[in-house]
Symmetry: C2
Subunit: 219 residues, 2 copies
DNA sequence: TTATCGAATATTGGATACAATATGCAAGAA
DNA sequence: TTCTTGCATATTGTATCCAATATTCGATAA
């Protein structure tokens, strides 16, 4: 048959739609740390019953994006400076390794896509855009590693700290510095030097960690 | 007040009880790969409605232990040889790093506990016991790293591959070899040598990977 | 006043009922 | 026969309703 078909079995259920919307709102910081998520209120917003809302909250809890107490409900889960520090260390470890695997397999299309995100990043003017292009730049470079388990963990980890990443970028000269470091990482990828790409990625993440901790501890 | 209190707010909901029971059954291999998990059947087994069963299945899906298709239901999620290989690489990366952080902080109590698991491991006589003591031996050694995010990821990863780990141990001389390697790792910890403990842990995991891949590829 | 108790309200957890979809099977057409 | 089609059944997704618990707020007593 010659029909553009969509696999209806994989269309989203109400629970998944709600999950993705809430996740986006949390990640983008529209819902603040500690803010309660009332089932009834969310159900009304999406014009459903509370059942799919509860499933969505269950998913978010598994991802560590909300914290739930029995009979008390769910709140947006924040992150302590210690946790943040540890997560940045974890990122350096895993993302450094992933990019090392990716560089030897990297296609010209991937490099072009990364360069486009890099350009968009430096032209962006607000935190959400910075965060978005920053993240896409990095994950694009990881893609060709074809390490699906690693990539899944990286995405979940980034979801968890996206808000704080954006805050760090918004610091004075956060964007300028990231921009320069991105350029160096991309150059290493283009040069086909996995070790250098890995080392620069680790440095980039650990530098951001120091920057962020400064921010978190002061305010 | 001087009363032994339990925080009732943290007692398990029906969904959590069902989740843990199903997780245990999947991890221990009582539920085979691809086996369908019928909501109705599970609900009858636990004498509840399907609502908490669905929450439990949602949690398991987030952990990657079951795969769900809309209107078709959930099945126990297996793992391909490629995925297994990648997950063992991931384990080597993360667990190697974690033990390096743990060794300088390791207490005598931890070392004693690890040694007890090691003894129990070599005396065990069936796959479930091997798997159990093996896992506890390793996670005990990781504990003092106090890297809670890393540890959470490690536990989830181990949950995901526990079945295959056990299969690998059950291979001819799998236990004997693991036993010798565990002894060496523990010795490095007792000697307070993080780099050696890390290197041995990585070797241990990557050796098991080769062993397992052989098993998976042959059938 | 201030602390404590209790009822009223709000909110979550779970059961039941209904709707949407998948699956299996029988009947008919090629 | 073998393939298709439509119906009956099975299963999942969601709505509605009830139960269990938390929270708020006013009344009362010290």
């Amino acid at each position: 048959m010659q029909i553009d078909s969509v696999n209806i079995g994989q269309t989203a259920s109400a629970a998944v739609i709600i999950y993705e919307a809430l996740k986006k709102a949390i990640i983008e910081g529209q819902l603040k740390d500690g803010e309660p998520l009332r089932q009834d209120e969310i159900a009304r917003m999406f014009n459903t019953s509370r059942i799919p809302v509860r499933e969505a909250l269950t998913m978010l809890e598994q991802q560590g994006l909300v914290a739930t107490q029995r009979y008390k409900g769910a709140v947006v889960a924040g992150i302590s400076p210690d946790e943040a520090a540890e997560i940045w260390d974890f990122r350096a470890l895993v993302e450094g390794r992933v990019i090392e695997e990716a560089v030897p397999r990297m296609t010209p299309e991937t490099l072009a896509a990364a360069r486009a995100h890099l350009a968009a990043f430096s032209e962006a003017t607000n935190p959400v855009e910075w965060g978005d292009h920053n993240r896409r730049f990095h994950t694009t470079l990881y893609r060709d590693s074809a390490l699906s388990y690693h990539l899944g963990i990286v995405e979940k980890t980034l979801d968890r700290v996206d808000r704080y990443l954006r805050a760090q970028l918004s610091l004075s000269n956060g964007v300028a510095r990231a921009d320069a470091e991105h350029e160096a990482i991309l150059a290493a990828c283009e040069a086909g030097d996995p070790a250098r790409a890995g080392a620069l990625t680790r440095q980039h993440i650990l530098g951001a960690k120091a920057n962020l901790l400064d921010l978190l501890r002061r305010g």
